[in-house]
Symmetry: C2
Subunit: 224 residues, 2 copies
Amino acid sequence: MKRILILEDDENLNRGISLKLRKEGYEVLPAYTVREAKDIFENEHVDLVISDITLPDGNGLDFGRAVREKSNVFLIYLTAMDQEIDIVNGYDTGADDYITKPFSVNILTSKVNAFMRRVSETEEGVLLSGDIEVSVKKMQVKKAGTLIPLSKTELQLLIYLLENAGCILSKESILDKVWGVDGQFVDDNTVTVNISRLKSKLRTDCIANVRGLGYLWTGKVTRK
Amino acid sequence: MKRILILEDDENLNRGISLKLRKEGYEVLPAYTVREAKDIFENEHVDLVISDITLPDGNGLDFGRAVREKSNVFLIYLTAMDQEIDIVNGYDTGADDYITKPFSVNILTSKVNAFMRRVSETEEGVLLSGDIEVSVKKMQVKKAGTLIPLSKTELQLLIYLLENAGCILSKESILDKVWGVDGQFVDDNTVTVNISRLKSKLRTDCIANVRGLGYLWTGKVTRK
DNA sequence: ACTCACCATAATAATTATGTTATAATTGAC
DNA sequence: GTCAATTATAACATAATTATTATGGTGAGT
């Protein structure tokens, strides 16, 4: 589920937005102060940040800049500061949108949906799970910082597992995905053997089998 | 250079926006009718589409939907239709933003810059050059539609060349990039040999040598 | 406890990948 | 044209990959 951090000190407004976005299917993490927001941002993975600018314990723009120092997460300001110069300044901190109060909750929702459509596209191709880091682009896998050399097949298998973490993947679908069209003549047991090899190379217990159904990655996967 | 298609029938407005965005460093392709815009869109690569909705020969929303059928390019509506329902409808066609007239050119520029920051992130990891198509994610290379099996090393070499198309890459930098830290004990000639293998497998003349300097990909590379 | 289907993994063998060496071809300076 | 430097490619040998086979283990149903 996609996660949204909302930094807004007006409790009613914060609750109202949260309610609507939860209905829309998002997980909402509300914050009422910059301190709270920073705490959440540093300890949780979020896909979108919505932030007010005038806040009791600091400035939303500073928070936005702090966010940009650490991540490329989508960032929207939601504020009463509606002068052109304010808006341009807002974008200059690296924001993706700037909404001025008063605003329509339905339009905010539409905007959020639009950004979320982009979220999955902007992932940088680095999959993280526990101490395992897979760089799709570099074709490299690291465990606790050290490089684990994997073959092309093993890498593709691992990526398929990670991209569908928590989902049981049947041997057939794995064959389809990893061995592709040419895999029609490949033995069913090949999957088993490669899974086994992957497990021994990664020395992980995140690859689980569900008897009769298939395999899955049990760890929590995030993306960088 | 990033390219913007502007569909706006008001000539003064179109010229004004184009001028500003060109100053900002973008290549602008102006269209005054849906027909023109479709023609440009089908024949040129664009990174962002800005479209009016009320147009002499059609509806901008239909154009937007047509765009979304073919691509995930960033799409912004710029229109006088400012009712909530209009805006929500606009987003529902798959748009990324909806700006209502009258608007500030400076803010539009900020928005465009914000989207362009995202453009490079949203590329799907598919490199195209002539009839050669490289899917970084799938680790597959196709030439004229047929799969060319490449080894991991060859693939990385090809990607490095494509990502720096037009730039001469020294053997040293290629060694650094493809063979990495472990490449310190690898022979200089290894690069030459792998270039040779790549050329013979791809049967392309896009890999050129510049005597004494290095290699480069001479074809034009686009991304999907 | 027995059985059978399913899974894990070790061993195997064929294939593929890949760095090196050797040799030929090319280029540009003189 | 000659020569030296550079590049191209063929040939080779080693290492890695990988589908298969074989064998042992595990778990659920009876």
